[in-house]
């Protein structure tokens, strides 16, 4: 009899609740709903008749008990402290039909006979409505990328039905025949012993030569070369560099039409997956990227994250202007970069004076996380301890212990925590029509195929007017469940134990995909802010490999766990193959 809403099972009513409902008409809690008070605006819901009344137990006159229940049948209030005594239970036993009560401080229904919470859809709907002063959301005033959201809810673009196509076995067309003949090279196999290295590495591993402080580029490229959906896209010939060039030439009519970064990626994939194990020099790629990001074109050291972002932008810019495709990054239909990396973040800003909440949606290709603020010097010693034993999670459960170990999950929890913006950061409230102090909360509306987490390891001190690198160790899991950071989970925790009547429009767009992710690449940085070295660790069929410019070696997973993560790449579990079939290892 329980039904599924948004993947969650709604609780079955107890027999006493069923009897109560049958005896008291279609809306048995209608009268109770008028007594819902929300204080402060947007805060917790309570049951009160008068704003300043002090609830007391009818039997013992106590008002300081932690749980006071009002009987829904006769409105009498009783205390409930099962360890000592329960006048609420006494009451329910003395009069049949008076088992259902409501917690006066939490506005939650309770069955005194069963000793357990019960749920009613209409009542919960009324509570949630009372808590959200204004249920409709608005668009943000800044930026054209925000999406509109309303309670009525219109179906997002990417949920509309796609027309199915009949299966046809593939045959190369005339163009493909030509490019196959002219431009392709045979994949090297085990018989070509001279070019195959003896270290039995999986297919697609090839060192990248450092062209002069280009480890920032090499590290990101190695991660992208093994990003499953990206790899599949390019190896599946979804962007053919010969076609693309020809098209560009035909349209522009110029001989040196600017190459597109996607074409360069295609060339890179071809080179790296060719079977040739000698280190490759991505000079052409570097040159193309310089043309795109002119301000970063130099032989100085660059930031890998900056490179990552500019690369994705570059691929997006050069995407062929296909009129059929939407250009908005949020849907992921614009280009392969956004299809793989773009998710949607939801931001709720609540005015602390009137409770009006404004919700905005923005696409994002990664999430930048702050390390927690300094914990008074305990960081260094305990991080040394943590590197030796990996059972510290048990120790961290104690609330008092300042274990000083930062975790990726901790960062995500902080990222999605409701944050009071200071009085110097007042935001404009549309209802009050003035700037007010606000409460802001982030959550994830739509998960991307690949989640990239960027750890902000630089600290800028405005006092000293300098930046420094934060070397603090960050623990990251190999498997990550993103469910607690989704908008649906965050909303659920904001409103408490409620059945959501309007789950329909709050459905996360990735409802049909799972929330479980697997780590496949870690970009690490060692050294100082202005002079350091990037190294990427890749995970293939549960083996870890270290990619240090031209050298790729197999390493133990403990090395990876202990590494200083700067960027972590997680792919949806369904797209990650733990047990690989024949990888073509030589």
């Amino acid at each position: 009899m329980s039904s599924k809403i948004n993947g969650h099972v709604s609780p079955q009513p107890c027999p006493h609740l069923l009897v109560f409902r049958s005896r008291n008409g279609p809306k048995p809690f209608r009268a109770l709903q008028d007594c819902i008070r929300v204080k402060p605006p947007g805060g917790r819901a309570a049951i009160r008749r008068e704003p300043t009344e002090v609830p007391r137990c009818g039997t013992c006159e106590e008002s300081s008990r932690s749980r006071l229940y009002a009987c829904v049948a006769c409105a009498a209030v009783f205390c409930h402290a099962p360890l000592l005594h329960s006048h609420a239970s006494d009451h329910s036993l003395s009069i049949p039909g008076h088992e259902i009560a409501v917690d006066v401080d939490r506005a939650e229904l309770f069955c005194c006979a069963c000793g357990d919470q019960v749920y009613d859809r209409d009542f919960d709907a009324a509570v949630v409505l009372a808590q959200t002063v204004n249920a409709t959301a608005t668009t943000s005033t800044s930026g054209s990328t925000a999406m509109q959201c309303s309670v009525a809810g219109s179906q997002p673009e990417n949920l509309r039905k796609r027309r199915r196509v009949d299966y046809r076995p593939w045959e190369p067309d005339s163009g493909e025949h030509i490019s196959r003949g002219n431009q392709s090279i045979p994949l090297l196999d085990a018989t070509n012993a001279s070019l195959v290295s003896s270290t039995q590495q999986p297919w697609g591993f090839r060192g990248l030569n450092n062209l002069g402080n280009t480890c920032f580029m090499n590290s990101i490229l190695q991660a992208l070369l093994h990003t499953p959906p990206l790899r599949n896209y390019f190896l599946g010939d979804r962007h053919n560099r010969y076609y693309c060039q020809q098209k560009n030439g035909a349209i522009n009519g110029t001989k040196n039409s600017r190459l597109c970064l996607a074409c360069d990626m295609d060339a890179l994939f071809s080179a790296v997956f060719s079977g040739d194990r000698t280190p490759y020099s991505p000079a052409k790629f570097l040159y193309s990227w310089w043309q795109h990001a002119a301000n970063l074109a130099s032989y100085e050291q660059q930031d890998a994250h900056e490179f990552f972002i500019s690369m994705l932008e570059g691929i997006h810019e050069k995407v062929e202007k296909d009129k059929r495709k939407s250009q908005s990054p949020g849907s992921g239909d614009c280009c392969i970069a956004h299809r793989v990396f773009s998710g949607i973040l939801r931001s709720d800003v609540m005015c602390m004076v009137c409770g009006f909440t404004s919700t905005t949606y923005d696409p994002c290709v990664d999430i930048s996380l702050d390390l927690e603020p300094n914990q008074g010097g305990s960081g260094k010693s305990s991080s040394a301890k943590s590197l030796n034993s990996f059972n510290f999670e048990a120790d961290c459960m104690r609330p008092n212990q300042n274990c000083g170990i930062s975790t990726l999950k901790g960062c995500l929890e902080r990222f999605t925590r409701a944050e009071k913006l200071g009085s110097d950061q007042k935001l404009f409230c549309q209802k009050c029509q003035v700037r007010q102090e606000s409460l802001k909360q982030m959550s994830i509306r739509k998960l991307p195929l690949v989640s990239c987490f960027h750890v902000k390891r630089f600290e800028h001190s405005s006092i000293r007017k300098m930046s420094r690198k934060v070397d603090r160790y960050l623990q990251f899991p190999f498997s990550l469940d993103m469910a607690p950071y989704l908008s649906s989970s965050i909303l659920r925790s904001r409103f408490g134990n409620r059945i959501f009547p309007f789950d329909g429009d709050e459905q996360d767009a990735s409802n049909d995909l799972s929330t479980e992710f697997e780590l496949f690449a870690v970009v690490t940085h060692s050294g100082r802010l202005d002079a350091g070295h990037y190294v990427t660790y890749l995970r293939l069929s549960n083996q870890w490999y270290k990619c240090d410019d031209a050298w790729i070696t197999q390493v133990n997973e403990s090395i990876v766990r202990a590494a200083q993560g700067y960027m972590m790449f997680y792919v949806q579990k369904v797209l990650y193959y733990k047990e690989s079939e024949n990888q073509g290892t030589s």
Binding site: C35, V54, S63
Partner: protein
């Protein structure tokens, strides 16, 4: 009982506190009873503010997460359908009370004292 009218909360909810036991001026400045303090806190809205502060502190130090973990572990052991709210309260209350940091207790106590001092007659 008819349910077409508004829920009537009986007088037990809004009955005023009993008057102080003596009219002697000196004795009125004696330590107020727990009941009186509680009522003062509720009526002024200070109790709600203190509760919010406490929630924030408990969240920050991981106490709430630890309680959640204890509840989950207990529920897993007993089986999801064999656990009631009362069971959970019974199980985690002693551990919960014991693990509230002393600094937090001190802070709240200080705030309550300050509040009472500021509203003293």
């Amino acid at each position: 009982m008819s349910h077409s009218h508004k829920l009537v909360i009986k007088s037990s909810m809004s009955r005023p506190p009993p008057p102080p036991p003596t009219t002697n001026k000196d004795q009125q400045h004696q330590n107020p009873s727990l009941q009186e303090i509680n009522i003062k806190l509720i009526q002024s809205g200070e109790k709600e503010r203190l509760k919010e502060l406490l929630r924030e502190r408990l969240l920050e130090c991981g106490w709430i997460d630890e309680m959640k973990a204890l509840c989950r572990a207990f529920t897993r052991k007993k089986g999801r359908n064999n656990v009631t709210v009362d069971d959970l309260v019974h199980v985690i209350s002693p551990k919960g009370r014991a693990s509230v940091p002393n600094s937090m207790k001190a802070e709240l106590l200080q705030r309550i004292r300050a509040f009472l001092a500021s509203t003293a007659d």
